[in-house]
Amino acid sequence: MGGSGRESNVAQLSLRGIKKRFRETAVLHGIDLEIGDREFVVFVGPSGCGKSTLLRLIAGLDPITEGEFVLNGTRMNDVAPSRRGIAMVFQSYALYPHMDVYENMAFGARLMGLTKAEVEARIAEAARMLRLEALLKRKPRELSGGQRQRVAIGRALVRKPDVFLLDEPLSNLDAALRSEVRLEIARLHREIGGTMIYVTHDQVEAMTLADKIVVMNNGRIEQVGSPRDLYETPANTFVATFIGSPRMALVDVTRDGDRLAVANGGAVVTGALPDATSLKLGLRPDAVQLHRGAGSEGLSAKVEYTEYLGDNAYVYARLADGTLLSARTTPNDLFAPDEAVTVTVTPGAAHYFSAEDGRRLNP
């Protein structure tokens, strides 16, 4: 039962039409997803989008209402969590508070029926990888947040699972530690090579760690793709505004020949256009330029404020129709609040979405 898979550490996950209801409330409305071996997949989305629920269904902690979860060709719907070859790192770490670090890691390994020597060997290996050797005799309450996090990962590691599930593992850490542990997780994925499924609401974590990002919203998958795919060709306005910081501005425009016009706010040339008269124009900060004063060619806007970030700066300007737009500028190029500016767009850098359903339109 999954045993042959465990040795070679191959993990092929298929989710087919997964639905989840808690009593009358539908949380997931049919999830179809293929996850390949050794992939680092990140589920990302706003709170309540169902990403943690999906993770718990894969773990086997909650029953699947409808649909099928197949791991390496075996249907897993009714298999006990510990027999799926899956280990999970919880958001609160969920370390057993009355056991020391060693016992925390040994608990699961012993329950797998391993010999004492094997348990010791695995813990020694995990402790070495996670630099926990000096902490093995400590209780969880004597550890810092980052150390607890490493113990939680170590506990998953000693079970040598095919699939690692990580539920918002960095959300309890402070900002400095967060980027450090993020690197560590990336390194671990390279070293042990298992399939990792990682849940977060932080798009920076998703972009930096993932081979494949699954963007979820309201119990549905909005788009699956590499970080580059999602950033460069977002499938709809939700993904477009969710990925990227500062977020993409969406402007309602009407087509006027080869120009796009904003209601009483001028018109702009953006390059090749899709075949639609009214659409949403998506502008990332690096796709626009600001010019001082009211010009004839471009969108008129008024500066609201400027964020100075050292190596560059973001200027937030409000268009005539009320849309707030951000533009990346050089730090030397600062604008005063309420200054009138004209916005032009780098040809080919804009995104277009249907005005009706927000779907991506290609020129």
Binding site: R56, L61, A87, S92, Y93, L111, M112, R141, R159
Partner: protein, 287 residues
Amino acid sequence: MSADATNYYDRKGILGALGRDGLLQVILIANTILMLAPIVIMVFSAFKTTPQIFQSPFGIPDFTQVQNFVKIWNETNFLRYLLNSFVVTAASMVLILTLGTMAAYALGRYAFSGASFILMFFIAGLTLPLKLAIIPLFMLMRDLSILNNQLSLIFVYTAMGLPSTIFIMTGFIRTLPNELEDAARMDGASEARIMWSIMLPLVRPAMVIAGIQNVVPIWNDFFFPLVFIQNDNLKTLPQGLTTFMGEYTTDWGVLFSGLTLSAAPIIIIYIVLSRQFIAGMTSGAIK
């Protein structure tokens, strides 16, 4: 009004001299004296003869006078009673804590239809004046043929202790994070092992509270042994003491020494468990 208030603060009353905390200290010290006085008098009287008790009830006795204790040792079944009390109390506590924790775990952790009804059913037990049911209980024990048998006491005490235990434990178990059980489930622990290896160590503080709450009334209970037990060899301490209270009606010294001996174990248990309880409170924190 304001002038009065100024006057009040100007005056050096007891409140002014001691301050708020000082007053609190005085009240607490007075309370401590009130609580300890009966125990101290009991221990003092255990070392006095009856005439001495009446001559100087609060006087400090000669602690080398242990003839009362010797008398109890030689002339009564004291050891037997003590042993019976231990057996009955221990058996009841084991049953109460085992059954109570298991029931509370199920009620606190598994969502099943009727769970809240069962919890209400258990808690309703808190409101029942059990002693009113003594005649039906007597008949029940007679029909079960366990009159004059310690089982009758153990059953009644277990029933008496379960409601409060389940109430305390259910509330406590509900506060423990769910992710611990999920983690244990991922680790491959069975439900029984999750309860034994993960939950039980964590609920120890609550078990100690429930234990203290139950062990004192059971140890001191006089009513049920009086009704259910006639055989002298099966009597518990409080009941046994009345036997020699009858024989030594006038000998208050012996009675007090018996009381002292009977109270000693429970006071020691109480002190030990209190330490445990405080230790448990400070070490149980999760994050």
